[in-house]
């Protein structure tokens, strides 16, 4: 049994599952539009939250938030469930699947059989969508936005990833599905304006004494990395830097920590709202994205040296200070434009 589900790869898993699911119900909304409507862009650097012993840096809003924001905005009725018993979590999922609805699951990356070894981290916030079951093998057919084609997973592995332990937070078989769709989508223009305003607020509303979140966080990180080498030695400093680069580029950000995705959203937003100025803002965030890539490139040259290319922590720190200033100004001015 397999639903007629059009699998399209996406940059990010959560946007991707939502976008694919909505398309299943006949609503075509692009990944950047979902990201923008959900005010998904963010920055945080939290020395008090550790992953593998290193401070967590993030370029987007917290996991799960996108889905609840977007369903509320567009008027979809979503059902979310968590479980204590593994068998029940599978039985319920099958029931919904066989009633003809794709089921989204929040899973751990670690035991996903199709992940390459190097991507098997104990990260419990990946999203996949169950869209069928093979009769012969009993394996489930999966639409994973990070995979180019549909994949399969055995029941045993699915239980393992849905009940992934420890790490940042343990999973309780969390799954979600769309229970009711609206007859038609609401008028997007006012929602887009509201979503942009909200994202501007998320990025700029923090008082200066709260340095971890929003545009404030970028120079905060910039100042911190200056001390890394003297505080923890070259090796540990390099590992910390690599961690920042991985968060910026690796886990489905669409490049430059979601900045390009937001640029794509602003272009679509300009078309729908008729606010031409948003095209200019799209260009500006693209340039900021290019600076993030420059930061990533030069950082990589610090921990993996190449002949003729020498960069210091001072130089990459200076890039972050500049980006912080530009993003703060960008979101202050964007707020005025909508």
């Amino acid at each position: 049994m397999e639903l007629t589900f059009d699998h399209k790869p996406a940059a990010h898993c959560e946007n991707g599952v939502i976008s694919n699911m909505l398309r299943f119900y006949g609503f075509n909304i692009s990944e950047p539009m979902i990201f923008g409507l959900a005010s998904g862009l963010f920055f945080s650097h939290m020395p008090f939250v550790k992953m593998s012993g290193m401070a967590v840096t993030s370029f987007r809003t917290f996991p799960g938030v996108l889905f609840s924001r977007i369903s509320k905005l567009l008027g979809f009725k979503i059902h979310t469930k968590r479980y204590l018993r593994e068998e029940k979590a599978i039985a319920d999922m099958e029931k919904i699947l066989f009633s003809g609805k794709p089921v989204g699951c929040v899973v751990g990356m670690y035991y996903l059989p199709y992940m390459p070894m190097e991507y098997r981290f104990h990260f419990n916030g990946h999203n996949i969508c169950i869209i069928g079951k093979e009769e012969e093998t009993g394996n489930y057919i999966v639409s994973d936005p990070n995979a180019m084609q549909k994949v399969t997973i055995s029941k045993r592995d699915l239980i393992k990833v849905r009940f992934a332990k420890g790490g940042t937070y343990p999973l309780l078989g969390q799954m979600y599905w769309i229970e009711k769709t609206p007859k038609q989508l609401p008028d997007l223009a006012p929602l887009i304006r509201k979503a942009i305003k909200k994202n501007c607020w998320l990025m700029t509303s923090q008082p200066s004494w709260l340095p971890y979140f929003g545009a404030n966080g970028i120079p905060f990180l910039g100042k911190r990395i200056l001390k890394w080498e003297s505080e923890m030695g070259a090796r540990k400093a390099a590992l910390n830097l690599a961690q920042v680069i991985r968060m910026l580029e690796e886990i489905g950000t669409g490049g430059a920590g979601f900045r390009y995705m937001y640029g794509a959203f602003l272009q679509e937003a300009a078309e729908i709202t008729g606010i031409q100025e948003l095209n200019e803002f799209s260009k500006r965030i693209t340039e900021i994205g290019d600076m993030w890539r420059d930061f990533a490139y030069k950082s990589a040259r610090i921990f993996k040296k190449r002949q003729g290319e020498q960069y210091s922590y001072e130089e990459i720190s200076a890039i972050l200070m500049k980006i912080g200033e530009l993003e703060a100004r960008f979101f202050r001015e964007l707020k005025e434009a909508v």
Binding site: A11, M115, A147, Q149, G255
Partner: protein, 133 residues
């Protein structure tokens, strides 16, 4: 980033179904999504992280050879699991796991316990009890 600047540096995605999706602007300044094989910069970052793990594993392997610790500690490190996480996955208490890091205690373990560990560490019992080259 322009469409023709989207990096195509295939390394860790090789022979997998995974790819990146990047957003980039085309010649008319319009954003579009482009499939990417990866970027050398993040491959470097990933390599450094993996090297860190391999170095730690090698150091533990040497201690296994010297009879100072058990293969359980080696495979836990290889799976980036600390005692807390290994305990969560196996249901074996942290204290007991630490005892099993003692090679003498480890060599006496029954099949059932070994299977529990092997299952959590995604290896066979044979691998769990054989020192890798």
């Amino acid at each position: 980033m322009k469409v023709d600047e989207v990096p195509q540096d295939l390394k860790y995605f090789e022979n997998t179904v995974l790819r990146d999706v990047a957003y980039a602007v085309d010649e008319n300044g319009k954003y579009t999504s482009v499939i990417s094989d990866g970027w050398s910069v993040k491959n470097d970052a990933l390599e450094l992280t993996m090297d860190g793990i391999y170095e730690e594993c090698e150091e533990i392997r040497q201690r296994v050879l010297a009879g100072e610790t058990s293969l359980l500690e080696y495979y836990a490190a290889k799976n980036i699991m600390d005692v807390d996480l290994l305990s969560d996955y196996t249901g074996i208490s942290k204290r007991t796991i630490r005892k099993h890091f003692d090679p003498k205690v480890f060599s006496q373990l029954d099949r059932e316990t070994l299977e529990k560990y092997a299952d959590a560490l995604r290896i066979t019992v044979e691998q769990l009890t054989t020192i890798p080259e």
